[in-house]
């Protein structure tokens, strides 16, 4: 193990996956990921690879669409406004079935401008046909990169894969990470063999115009692909656990739920703190459990239903809001639990980098256990304030 920053844990893992084209545009808190890769490229450490600096995130994503269509293994990193600027292109990449791997260093959206962490950016991409997995720490981010390529490039899948890691909380943290060796990843990850690619020998068109008599079938195929990804992901997650001995579980990690009266569902780096609180409540004899949501797309409906089979009260803690409704994860969880009578309490916390101290998690769980809060949507950790408008 070596103490490295989150940036490096990503860049090192990408290097061992032998990418062919990296293109990016800098944005905090992602920049040092691609700076590390640019340094590796400049030092000749990336074989058969070109690093292309782009003039915007839109261009970076466009370069990768072209590159991926020729059969290249591609990588980019972005977040926040950068992800939103990429979104037009990334939605195309999903439709064109291009297995681009990107790391989104989760950051809030403007306005007001914030460089700090929440999940509003990646949640915005919910409906794109892009696989989304959230990580808890830098080891998980490091480990997920080769798995992401293996899943995305599987011929049953062929979809973009977005790894979501919390900006600052993970990217800027120095912590010990067990870094992959090149030999290890060469053994785990085969070269990308595209089923169709742009080539002068066999001209093809990608992402062309589809009139009404054929468009819908492409969209059904997209849904089929992301549905098939469920099983492919399960298999790759399991293979990785056996290969490395590090078991990050599957689409969800359900902990202490079997006899739980209350379970907390959460995702991203806050999970570690929530687990710590849950485990200390367990020691006090309180029947509390945790569901760590790893895969957000495709959404693990069956796994959530199964894990919550005997649980009556469910708390969802998340760092995003679907304005005009509630938190995106809570909406999904309710959908997964349709027809089951559960009490569901959803909380938006830690928006725009607001720190979530242990006391806040304890308070939320206590209040729900004691029946002090109503079911439905709440913000927590908010100061008293007066709206200027109206």
């Amino acid at each position: 193990m070596k103490v490295v920053r989150g940036f490096y844990s990503v860049a090192h893992a990408v290097k061992t996956c032998r990418p062919n084209v990296i293109s990016a545009y800098p944005i905090t808190p992602q920049t040092e990921i691609v700076e590390n890769l640019a340094a590796m490229y400049a030092n000749g450490e990336l074989e058969n690879c070109v690093y292309i600096t782009a003039e915007s995130e839109f261009s970076a994503a466009s370069i990768l669409v072209g590159a991926s269509a020729t059969g290249a293994r591609t990588f980019t990193a972005t977040c926040s406004q950068g992800l939103i600027l990429m979104s037009e292109v990334l939605i195309n990449a999903a439709g064109m079935r291009l297995p681009i791997v990107l790391v989104n260093t989760n950051r809030a959206l403007s306005a007001p401008l914030s460089i700090w962490n929440d999940h509003q950016d990646s949640m915005f991409m919910r409906d794109a046909g892009i696989i989304q997995v959230y990580v808890e720490n830098n080891q998980e981010a490091h480990d997920l990169i080769p798995q992401a390529y293996k899943i995305a490039e599987n011929s049953k899948v062929l979809l973009p894969f977005m790894i979501c890691m919390d900006g600052y909380k993970l990217t800027h943290a120095y912590e010990p990470v067990d870094l992959h060796s090149q030999e290890m990843i060469d053994e785990f990850l085969p070269p990308y063999e595209p089923v169709a690619k742009l080539s002068v020998d066999k001209p093809l068109t990608f992402g062309s115009y589809a009139p009404p008599h054929i468009y819908m079938e492409f969209r059904v195929a997209l849904q089929n692909a992301i549905e098939r990804a469920r099983k492919v992901m399960e298999d790759v997650f399991k293979e990785w656990a056996e290969f490395t001995g590090r078991d990050w579980k599957s689409h969800i990690s359900a902990e202490n739920v079997d006899d739980a009266e209350l379970a907390v569902i959460t995702l991203g780096s806050i999970t570690s703190l929530v687990r710590d609180v849950v485990e200390s409540l367990r020691r006090e004899g309180k029947k509390v459990g945790l569901i760590k949501l790893r895969t957000f797309r495709p959404f693990p409906n069956d796994e959530i239903r199964k894990a919550l089979k005997n649980v009556n009260k469910v708390i969802v803690l998340e760092r995003a809001v679907s304005f005009g409704n509630e938190g995106q994860v809570a909406i999904e969880v309710k959908n997964a639990l349709y027809g089951k009578s559960k009490e569901i309490y959803s909380f938006a916390i830690g928006l725009g980098g607001r720190d979530v101290p242990r006391e806040l998690i304890v308070k939320i769980i206590d209040n729900v256990m004691q029946g002090k809060v109503k079911q439905g949507f709440h913000f927590e950790g908010v100061q008293e304030f007066k709206e200027v408008i109206p």
């Binding site: 808190p29 460089i115 909380k169 800027h172 912590e175 570690s272 703190l273 101290p357």
Partner: protein
């Protein structure tokens, strides 16, 4: 640097900033946890065992001893005595001071006190050995800059070892 050096000495470490390196000139803070067990907490530290103040002018806008444990220690870059610093921020916590700005000016020629205060932390707490810090310095910096920072760490560490806490 303390996270890297601490890990070399067998601690699990986790450190992170609250403001990125982008904001030079404004008050910034960073947090470090050292533990015998793997660290899972990533929230800010509200009740620290140690507080290190790199720039004494931050006391005008930040309550630097806030949450510092009763038996905790505040290590300040300050040109005057610990007693005077205690009076300045009206604290009853243990304080030690070191004129890190002066040392940095003499050795680096610039008022960058980070490595001096890393050395001061090691000397005051004895949690991390001077040799390990110097080894880390030589991994992070090269040539003359490494030599100067190693000297600064050493001088600050040795100064603190002499201070009665």
């Amino acid at each position: 640097m303390l996270a890297v050096a601490g890990f070399k000495e067998g601690y699990y470490t986790l450190s992170f900033p609250t403001f990125g390196a982008e904001k030079r000139g404004t008050p910034v803070a960073s947090f470090l946890r050292l533990s015998d067990k793997p660290i899972v907490l990533r929230d800010e530290i509200y009740y620290p065992d140690y507080v290190v103040v790199l720039d004494p002018t931050v006391v005008e806008s930040v309550e630097v001893d806030k949450g510092l444990k009763e038996n905790g220690l505040l290590i300040a870059n300050y040109p005057k005595s610990a007693e005077e610093f205690k009076k300045l921020i009206s604290t009853d916590r243990k304080v030690v001071t070191i004129n890190a700005t002066k040392m940095a000016m003499e050795i680096l020629g610039r008022p960058i006190t980070n490595t001096a205060m890393v050395g001061a932390f090691a000397g005051a707490t004895k949690l991390i050995k001077l040799e390990t810090l110097k080894e880390t310095i030589y991994e992070w910096f090269k040539g003359e800059i490494a030599d100067k920072n190693a000297k600064l760490v050493e001088d600050a560490c040795k100064y603190m070892l002499e201070v009665k806490i």
